[in-house]
């Protein structure tokens, strides 16, 4: 495992300490030797790359159903031209006060639009995909959410998926 920088918060240690009286939280772990990450080569310059946005901060449009608390594996499809003023947040796992003021903290749709307009990226492969990351079942992520998002990204013919957790 790569050594974290000295100032990085030890979230695993703190979570274990916080919930020491409860059954231990198990993080998903992959042994880098026996289960290395898959690897798809980069074949384009950023300026001609179609970028798909996937974010787990619980952002949704004002006319879409909010996320339910805990283990909600649904996702929302957000049109790329949606103004920030129409975005909302529903998530219990982090302090959403800043994201509620400006979703750009965890959902950089406007930033990607600006970058596409400026020619820094090729385009946004829309719609942007959003879900609520408070899912405690790795099985549900593996079997339900991840394949669903993968299939959408393939249909969108994205050259790159940009994943933003919260």
């Amino acid at each position: 495992m790569m050594q974290p920088p000295s100032d990085a918060v030890r979230y695993i240690d703190r979570t274990r300490r916080l919930y020491a009286s409860q059954s231990p939280y198990r993080w998903v772990e992959h042994d880098p030797e026996t289960q290395p990450p898959p690897w798809a080569p980069i074949e384009r310059e950023l300026a001609s790359t179609r970028v798909a946005l996937i974010a787990s901060g619980g952002i949704h449009c004002d006319d879409q159903e909010p996320f339910h608390f805990r283990n909600d594996t649904s996702h929302r499809e957000i049109p790329v031209d949606t103004p920030s003023s129409r975005l909302r947040v529903s998530h219990f796992g982090y302090d959403v006060s800043d994201a509620a003021r400006d979703p750009a903290c965890v959902f950089p749709l406007r930033a990607l639009r600006d970058l596409a307009d400026a020619g820094a990226i090729g385009a946004i492969a829309g719609p942007a995909l959003s879900f609520m990351g408070g899912i405690y079942s790795a099985r549900q992520v593996r079997e339900e959410l991840a394949p669903r998002l993968r299939d959408i990204v393939l249909r969108q013919k994205a050259d790159l998926a940009y994943l933003v957790p919260a």
């Binding site: 790569m2 974290p4 920088p5 990085a8 918060v9 030890r10 979230y11 695993i12 240690d13 703190r14 979570t15 916080l18 919930y19 939280y25 993080w27 998903v28 880098p32 290395p36 990450p37 898959p38 798809a40 980069i42 950023l46 787990s56 901060g57 608390f69 219990f92 982090y94 800043d98 994201a99 003021r101 400006d102 750009a104 903290c105 965890v106 959902f107 950089p108 406007r110 930033a111 990607l112 600006d114 970058l115 990351g133 405690y136 992520v141 593996r142 991840a146 394949p147 998002l149 993968r150 990204v153 393939l154 050259d159 790159l160 998926a161 940009y162 994943l163 933003v164 957790p165 919260a166």
Partner: protein, 107 residues
């Protein structure tokens, strides 16, 4: 999020993942990660700073695409604009995420 990055990359589409939790990301092992030293909920910057968000995202994509080894995490040269008090507070009993009913998040 790392599981989703691995699933998409395995289907042939490259991925770049943001993170502000280095240890969790290193355990899950997404293909390419960009670390931002900020409290959770700010992986692409602070509110009301469109230009800063844009610069952060552009620099993150460029840094991510430059990674050459699966599982690598690169730190972005971006500075949290406020003080560093958040480092000590994050995920301590006094400052823990709460569920809708106000109880600490647990499972």
């Amino acid at each position: 999020m790392g599981l989703i990055a691995r699933e998409i990359e395995a289907a042939g589409v490259p991925t770049v993942s943001m993170t502000s939790a280095w240890d969790i990301t290193a355990a899950v092992g997404p293909p390419r990660s960009v670390y931002v030293h900020a409290p959770l909920g700010h992986q692409t910057g602070v509110p009301g700073a469109a230009e800063g968000n844009r610069t952060l995202v552009r620099d993150a994509l460029a840094a991510g695409l430059g990674l050459e080894r699966p599982g690598q995490i690169v730190r972005l040269a971006w500075r949290w604009p406020d003080d560093d008090d958040w480092e000590a507070r994050a995920y301590t009993p006094e400052h823990t995420p709460t569920s809708a009913d106000g109880k600490p998040m647990r499972d």
